[in-house]
């Protein structure tokens, strides 16, 4: 590791970072007095979250993906790298939409867009027992979360949460339209106060399921409305805010 301590993490927030950059964290309890910068946080952070794109190393945090460095102060502070990606890597705890490709005995094989197919046991549905099997056919869409997702094993999904309730997961119903977008757009849409979602919700009544693997399922009252929503969502990625507002204004005018 030829690089020295590197740059302070706080300075890089919002800037582009490249793999191999070392970010050091300001207030270390073990550091000498000269290092301590008691500007923002007088007490050492109790629990710092090192998010995707970053890894822990001796000096501080090591960047492993290129992108913009983001920071959140709430809840002990978190740093992560906001990078653009189309290919999904299954991560434990993520909710994703899978398409059933095969039924192999007691297990369904789902295509989640990753390098391997995920497996889903038939008992992992709410109210499923050995006698009461869920009615899942090949080609159906399923919304579930990953319980096992690492680079050594085949990913596994379930459609119940830790208390045994489905809480919205399971087979996604009939009709509707499934399409794929990039992962960055999904995160934008799922952000707490997303303008796109707010504007869309004022257009028509509709229902939407967003999977972290880049898949979106939309259903509205008529086919035309569904297709309009799909086109807006696909185009949102490359439109600026103003262009989007213009598009919405045209639609609501019609």
């Amino acid at each position: 590791m030829a690089a020295g301590c590197g740059v302070a993490a706080e300075e890089c927030v919002g800037q582009v970072v490249l793999p191999g950059d070392v970010l050091c964290l300001p207030t270390h309890p073990d550091e000498d007095g000269e290092r301590l910068r008691l500007g923002a946080s007088p007490a050492p952070p109790t629990r710092l979250l090192c998010g995707p794109g970053l890894r822990r190393c001796d000096a501080g945090l090591l960047v492993t993906k290129c992108g913009l460095l983001r920071h959140r102060q709430a809840g002990g502070g978190a740093y992560w790298v906001d990078s653009q990606q189309k290919r999904y890597v299954p991560i434990k705890g993520d909710h994703a939409i899978g398409i059933v490709t095969a039924k192999a005995g007691d297990v369904f094989k789902l295509d989640v867009g990753g390098s391997e197919q995920a497996s889903l046991s038939y008992l992992a549905f709410e109210g499923a027992t050995k006698r009461n099997r869920p009615n899942v056919q090949v080609g159906e869409h399923i919304y579930g979360q990953f319980v096992v997702a690492n680079k050594d094993m085949e990913p596994e999904m379930v459609c119940i949460d830790s208390s045994g309730r489905s809480s919205g997961m399971g087979i996604i119903g009939q009709d509707g339209f499934l399409f794929k977008v990039s992962l960055g757009l999904i995160r934008k849409l799922l952000a707490p106060k997303s303008e796109i979602i707010q504007e869309l919700s004022q257009l028509y009544p509709f229902e939407m399921v967003l999977g972290m693997n880049g898949r979106i399922w939309v259903k509205a009252r008529t086919v035309q409305q569904t297709l309009i929503i799909v086109n807006i969502l696909e185009a949102c990625e490359y439109m600026t805010a103003e262009q989007r507002k213009q598009a919405f204004a045209k639609l609501s005018g019609n």
């Binding site: 705890g93 399921v209 972290m212």
Partner: protein, 148 residues
């Protein structure tokens, strides 16, 4: 290995020799033990936790009322960080009543398993509460020296 007739001291010496032999044969790391570094950095691979993303299933303008209810429930859980207070589980019987019942219960069930002798004592106790016959009954019969 315990041999009879060995002194305690000789035994100790033999044990120590054994331990020494074993320790020399055992392999151990010569590297100085590194103190575990401050572990206040938690590695997280999911964006959901970092960016506090909302729940993925959404419905608008009443298209699917169940999902709208679910949205409110899941997203408020996300923001408020509900701490499940399961300290006091709902009990069918309150604590005070349990204590009262237990008091009486211990006596009644205990009586069933008492021996005959104790039962007689208990009955006498109950009958003659005012009269102090207890000390004389319970007092050991002292040895009475026979008169010449």
């Amino acid at each position: 290995f315990m041999q009879k007739g060995l002194d305690a001291q000789t035994k100790k010496e033999l044990e120590e020799e054994e331990k020494k032999v074993i320790n020399d044969e055992h392999w151990y790391l010569d590297v100085p033990v590194k103190k575990a570094k401050e572990s206040f950095i938690v590695e997280e691979r999911s964006f959901v936790v970092c960016e506090e993303l909302l729940y993925g299933r959404m419905s608008f303008n009443g298209f699917n009322p169940e999902i709208e209810k679910l949205m409110i429930q899941m997203n408020s859980k996300n923001k408020k960080e509900e701490i499940e207070v399961d300290d006091k589980m709902e009990a069918d019987v309150s604590d005070a009543e349990m204590a009262r019942r237990y008091e009486t219960l211990v006596g009644t069930v205990g009586k069933k398993f008492m021996r005959r002798r104790d039962q007689r004592v208990l009955m006498d106790e109950e009958n003659c509460e005012n009269i102090e016959i207890r000390p004389s009954k319970k007092a050991k019969k002292k040895f009475l020296k026979p008169r010449d």
